[in-house]
Symmetry: D2
Subunit: 345 residues, 4 copies
């Protein structure tokens, strides 16, 4: 059993422990907490009773070095970078579920996150952990930058079209709808039940931190700079992200080419389910699972395509994808511990 450490005790940490509880090759050796020190993790999250005996501990990086082969970091941005540097120096591999290693350009990081990057020299070492695009690089890396939840859904929806040059690289509109768990377990008015329930709103309009991440990866896919407009919306549900992406077809591109691009790109991808024509994703179909469902609409007359993707933000959008990356890094079956269906209804 590979001993793994987890830093953090929020919702993504809880989902990591849940997913790893059925992993046949990994064992959660320790969880670091700040507010629940000495409590059983299953006391903090009673749905895990019988599935975790771990006791939350005070952070102790030396312990991770001694006892773990890999560490999942589920921390607010800015905190991971120095820890990662220290851990990899001791040969401990890192999967960072935070934002510190996602953006290749530290200036953009600093502009959006408003902190100085503490380990810019590692940005080239880190691999962006989207297995459907970077699988080979993930295999050998010491640092995985686990993608943001919105970027996961948006990039998987659009990369095939941009890679194949089928759509314009401008005037791309990405409109996402997310459940509330993406905002974490920290108390804030915006996550207070009565402020969310029975309503919907846009937030971080024009300024969300996932926008440059999406733009970066779509630009890599396109081989040229891509301009996007990204707006997230908060929906009264706990889990799930639906992303509706609007693109303009390039002259001469046919619906068949659009569909073929997805078929080609995802033919062997277990976790990507391209839905049949006329069927569009519902976030409930991926609820609690690591799948991303994709629906495709092409309006030949208006020369537009609408690509819709659904993920569970805590699975494919965070902890499930992190375990997928872990499996790849350690040469395990990629679907280990992840091969389960969503829960409906």
């Amino acid at each position: 059993m590979i001993p793994v450490g987890i830093i953090g005790d929020g919702y993504t940490a809880a989902e990591l422990v849940r997913v790893l509880s059925r992993h046949r090759r990994a064992r959660v050796a320790t969880v670091f907490s700040t507010e629940n020190i000495d409590k059983g993790f299953a006391e903090v999250y009673p749905h895990l009773l019988r599935f975790s005996e771990v006791i939350c501990e005070k952070a102790d990086i030396d312990k991770l070095k001694r006892e773990c082969q890999v560490v999942f970091l589920a921390l607010p941005h800015g905190l991971s970078a120095p820890i990662v540097r220290e851990l990899i120096g001791s040969g401990v591999r890192c999967i960072d579920l935070g934002a510190d290693f996602r953006l290749k350009d530290p200036k953009i990081y600093e502009e959006y996150y408003e902190v100085t990057h503490e380990a810019p020299e590692l940005l080239d070492v880190a691999v962006y952990g989207l297995p459907e695009i970077y699988r080979e690089k993930i295999r050998g890396t010491m640092i995985v930058a686990n993608p943001g939840c919105f970027p996961t859904g948006a990039i998987l929806a659009l990369a095939p079209l941009l890679k194949e040059g089928l759509v314009e690289t401008e005037n791309i509109v990405i409109d996402s709808k997310t459940g509330v768990s993406g905002a974490g377990r920290s108390l804030k008015l915006a996550s207070h039940f009565c402020e969310v329930n029975e309503g919907v709103k846009a937030y971080s309009v024009g300024s969300h931190r996932h926008a440059p991440e999406i733009a970066q990866e779509l630009s890599f896919a396109a081989g040229q700079e891509v301009e996007i407009t990204f707006t997230p919306h908060l929906i009264p549900m706990s889990r799930g992200i639906l992303t509706t992406a609007y693109v303009k077809l390039r002259p001469g591109v046919t619906e068949e080419q659009v569909r073929q691009a997805f078929a080609d790109q995802y033919a062997d991808e277990h976790f990507v389910r391209v839905l049949p024509e006329g069927t569009y994703p519902h976030t409930r179909w991926v609820y609690g699972s690591n799948f991303v469902d994709i629906g495709i609409f092409v309006d030949d007359k208006k020369r537009r395509a609408i690509i819709i993707s659904a993920i569970d933000n805590l699975n494919k959008g965070a902890s499930g994808q992190a375990v997928q990356n872990f499996n790849i890094m350690f040469g395990l079956e990629e679907t280990e511990a992840l091969d389960f269906a969503g829960i409906f209804p």
Copy 2:
């Protein structure tokens, strides 16, 4: 008291009865039903106990002619047209909450609604019932075509910009999120609790019947044909529509001009609240009320504006607006029975 008739007993009819229950100049004389004949309306909708004594009746157009000055029709499309013809022939004014008189071109109506229009000669008589745009025409008309719920939110969000020529008339993306009551009280799997709860999906992708209605009215505002892409999404909540509209600024247009267009257009509109810069609508702020809230974001660098509007689909998106039209038609105070705040939380 002006005697009014209501045809239909679904959610919009219930909301009409609720709103009219505090109207000082109108009295609901009769409600026509098919499935609840002889039941008290407040037995069908117990929230109206003490507010309505009306008994549901079998449809009887002659009775409307004899007893009512105005009739609200809350019927599935295709059923209103012949009734309206008959009623106005007897001098009874009509407010149609259905789709029959919204589209000026019967061919587009027949393409989208897949029925033959029964009274095409009245399409020019009918006035599109968006008071903020057609107030003067509404005053004198015999037929109001009460707007669709999505069009209300979308048109009020975009008309000022198109009217002033500030934005491109192409590449307009309108992404709407609606609560479930818009689908009515008729049983269907898509409105079954467990199919909606804790999830979100797009529907009628590329084919929603409100798309041509939005395009028609925005084209009138622009004075030229406008091309839109409209996608509605179903959200796990009962009431409310949030519309996020993405447009491209014309060369040279400034943020100030954009904001000024809204300030000018809605300066005297009681039911339109243009929110201050940096504030974006939440559907809860208009819940149960006739207001439309509008938030404006301008990205000068990308030359884009995002306009976000929120309405209560059963009020400003249906019954509240119908009463607003009624007030205008009959020369009453426009806010009569409608001057109440939304309910939060």
Copy 3:
């Protein structure tokens, strides 16, 4: 216009401002806040845009004395008592939405609320503000102790039976289900969206602070000590309390007598709707309104009655009832500003 002051800026304060915005005889002169000082109340609660111009102020009791005839206190327990003493000393009448004046026995108050009562000499001056029981006393009082939300629903469900001696005073089980707004706007994990959504739990089992309040008032109604078991449950909704009360019929008591007790007690009560046999309340029917709906089931064979009541916790369970009390205190129409139907769906 009677100038009124409000101390507090949480959900009950917001509902007070909303209700009072259509009061024809009252005017909100000032609202005291701690965290929103100098902000417009409608900036804090944008659903009130166009309905409130009040600016939140720092607490200033002298200002209340100078400018207000009545003050609504929406404060955590323990804070109201000294303020009320000072205000009534200057002739300002007080309606306390908190717990300080509800329990007649300061020892029970201190046991349950774990603070010393600061003004025990006023407990006999204060009138428990349940108009359906204490209307006459409310008329003349300087201090109204506005009832707790659970007690309102429970007492109105059971008092008629206990008053008439129709049921046993022991083995009474009161099982309540509440929406989340009852917990207020202060941040706490128990009100965090993801901790509440899609689940239900009991809380404060055997120890809720409203239990002694219910027992006190039911004992007064019965004329002897009544023993209750009260358990509240948290439901994933914003508003509403459903209370299911289980009692044992006394020997010889008939179903007819049970129904008659309610008919008699509430014959002239505008805000109490006793539902017909076979109909049981739904909290949606009272949503946003000041009504309490009551359904009655009698099992003659098992000698049991089940009484079910529904209220909106922010209206009849808090602010609506406070305004009802205000109307009575000042000799106004009791339904002023409160005569509106619930919102459904």
Copy 4:
């Protein structure tokens, strides 16, 4: 692989297919449907894409006899009895998720379900499928009567106390709160989104069909007739049942004895988690899992105990328990395919 058949295609059937998809010893050979014949089961329930290749078929009992060793019947009451008789006659074992074999007395069945029982001679053959009570009998039986959802939660909460004679057998109040999936996928107004959302109601007050089932099993546990009052409530959530059961302690019984009864009864039960003192269940902790969580409160002064249980109505309340029974019947590991944690948040 043991070939299994499923009759029915509602939510419980979908949950059976989901659970069985990871069963290492069973294979879903066929699913019978009425409305989805020839559709892929994963087309009807897309969350099962990649987990089920089964095509829905028209009912064909002969096929079940030829190809299946066991059949799960997920049918409305009244339909199972004749099919079960035929199947067991051919040596096919049956697990009936409907009500036909739960009540031992056909007269009570006929009174509550208002149909004639078609196979009363099998009532003694059938075993009530609550493994924590009837494990040994289940092992050898041809027919399992899978318990109702409410009875599962109520019986597991109270049987230990009644079996040990610690509580009175009268004046037992059982107040349950259920999600909407228990009402199935068939369209009905009571399951229409807008009729359920943001509200709570009691239903089937005094007449729910699960009441005699609970009474029967608790009477068996007590060894004497037990009288219960059972009231279910509908909560705006998809899954989960919370049951709050109120009982009266017998003279001399101590809190320790109460807790010990649960500790003894459930010491070796994998799927029953008795929570520590002061912790009460939340349905989210068992969401999507086969666990039942139990919390215990004892009020020594009032001589009362409150036992609260939480289950997922589609798992331990239906399909999970059916698979648990299947595992026992076929001598497999009892937790096979069921050993996973609930999903939170």
